[in-house]
C-alpha cells in the first residue's frame, strides 16, 4: 500500500473487470464500493466478490479501502464481518458518527483477535456526509485510534442540508474548511468530495485546486481519467520545492551559528514557514520528486 492519499478512486464492488484493473490505474488508494455502486439485490454478491478479490489480486502497490454499507442497515455489520477477515488496509465508514466509529472499532478488535491479524492494523476513514457528522467531525476522528482520514461526501451532505450542489462548490466551503481544520489538528488526511462531471477536466483542476487551497490533502475520484489531474494539483511545484529546501537550509545554517531566528530573501523565517517547508519537502520526497 502507498503512503500518500492524494487520490482515492471509487470502484464498483460487483464488477470483476474493474476490480482486476483497480490496482494499475495510478490512484494512491482504491475504494472498493459495496454501498452506492451496488444495488440492494446484489449486496451479497458484491461482498463475496470483493472478499475474494482482496484474497487473490495483487493490490500491494495501492491502499485497499472498502466502503461498507452504513452500520445501521442489515448489510453494514455483515460487510465489516466478512471483509475485515481478509484484511483490507482500510474501511471507509459511510454516514459516520462517533457511535458508529466506536462500534466498528470494537468489531475490528474482535475480528483481528479471531483471525490473528496485528491488533489495530485495519484502519478507518470516516465518510462525512451528514450535518451531524460534519458538526462532530473532530470527535468522530477521536473516536478510534484506527482513524487515518476523513472523506467529505459533498453530494449527500448538500442533500442532508437541503441545498443545491453546484460545480462552483460555494455551498461546501464551510464543510471543506471544517474537515480540513479538524484533520490538520488531529494529523489525519482530509480527502475532498469527488468532482462528478467526468468530462470537465478544467473544472476538475479548478475544484481540486480550491480544495487544496483550503487545506485538504487529497481528492476522491470516480473515473480513472481524473487521477492524473488530481495528482498534478496536489504535487508541489518545482518552485515550491526549491523554496522549501532553501528555507530548511537557511534554518540549519542559522542553528549552526547559534542564531534563534533567520531570514531568507529579506523575510524572517519563523515556525509556520519552517513547518510548511518541512511538509512540502516530505511530500516531495514521498512522491519521488526529490532525493531522500
Amino acid at each position: 500500500m502507498g503512503k500518500s492519499r492524494r487520490s482515492m478512486l471509487f470502484m464498483p464492488g460487483n464488477n470483476p473487470g474493474m476490480l482486476q484493473d483497480a490496482a494499475i490505474l495510478g490512484a494512491d488508494s482504491i475504494i472498493l464500493d459495496l454501498e452506492d455502486a451496488v444495488s440492494l439485490t446484489e449486496k451479497d454478491s458484491a461482498r463475496i466478490l470483493v472478499r475474494d478479490a482482496i484474497k487473490t489480486i495483487d493490490y500491494s502497490q495501492v491502499e485497499v479501502v472498502v466502503r461498507v454499507n452504513p452500520l445501521d442497515t442489515e448489510f453494514g455489520p455483515h460487510d465489516v464481518d466478512v471483509i475485515a477477515r481478509v484484511k483490507p488496509d482500510t474501511l471507509l465508514i459511510p454516514k459516520a458518527n462517533e457511535e458508529e466509529i466506536k462500534l466498528v472499532d470494537k468489531m475490528l478488535d474482535q475480528i483481528e483477535i479471531e483471525e490473528g491479524h496485528t491488533p489495530g492494523s485495519i484502519k478507518l476513514i470516516a465518510l462525512i456526509e451528514t450535518a451531524l457528522g460534519l458538526e462532530n467531525v473532530y470527535c468522530v476522528i477521536q473516536a478510534s485510534k484506527r482513524m487515518v482520514g476523513v472523506l467529505l461526501g459533498g453530494e449527500d451532505l448538500t442533500s442532508d442540508l437541503g441545498i443545491a450542489r453546484t460545480k462552483d462548490g460555494q455551498e461546501i466551503f464551510y464543510a471543506r474548511n471544517k474537515v480540513a481544520t479538524a484533520c490538520r489538528a488531529l494529523k489525519v488526511d482530509s480527502i475532498d468530495t469527488p468532482f462528478t462531471d467526468t468530462n470537465d477536466f478544467v473544472g476538475l483542476a479548478k475544484d481540486t485546486a480550491k480544495a487544496k487551497s483550503l487545506g485538504l490533502t487529497g481528492k476522491s475520484a470516480i473515473n480513472p481519467r481524473q487521477i492524473e489531474i488530481i495528482h498534478s494539483v496536489f504535487a508541489p511545484t518545482e518552485e515550491e520545492l526549491k523554496h522549501a529546501l532553501r528555507v530548511l537550509y537557511a534554518m540549519e545554517e542559522a542553528e549552526k551559528e547559534g542564531k534563534g531566528v533567520c531570514s531568507l530573501d529579506g523575510k524572517m523565517i519563523d515556525a509556520p514557514v519552517i513547518n510548511r517547508a518541512k511538509t512540502t519537502v516530505e511530500l516531495g520526497r514521498s512522491l519521488g520528486l526529490i532525493e531522500r
Binding site: G17, I48, I57
Partner: protein, 87 residues
C-alpha cells in the same frame, strides 16, 4: 447439504460468469458449462466450479454456467453466491 430452490448470481458482462443453480433430484452434482474460452480453459473452469460446490458440502445440484472470461476468484465467488441464495 441440499439446496431448495433455483437461484442465479453473476452477469453476462466481460470478465464475469452467470451461474444458475437448481435442485437435482438425482442427488448428483451436474454441470452444464458454456465459455468463450472453452477450448483453452474449459477444464479449469469446471474444476473451479466443482471444487467450490464440494467445499460448500452441497449435493443434488444442477449448475448451468455461462462464462465470459471470468478469473478463478470470480467463478468461485459467483458459485458461492448462487448456492447461498438457493437455500
Amino acid at each position: 447439504m441440499k439446496i431448495t430452490k433455483v437461484a442465479k448470481a453473476g452477469t453476462l458482462e466481460s470478465n464475469d460468469i452467470l451461474i444458475m443453480v437448481m435442485p437435482n433430484e438425482s442427488g448428483k452434482v451436474e454441470l452444464e458449462l458454456e465459455s468463450i474460452v472453452m477450448r483453452q480453459f474449459g477444464d479449469v473452469i469446471e474444476q473451479v466450479i466443482l471444487h467450490k460446490v464440494k467445499e460448500m458440502g452441497v449435493e443434488g445440484i444442477m449448475i448451468k454456467a455461462q462464462d465470459k472470461g471470468a478469473l478463478d476468484y470470480t467463478i468461485g465467488a459467483r458459485v458461492e453466491t448462487a448456492i447461498k441464495r438457493a437455500f
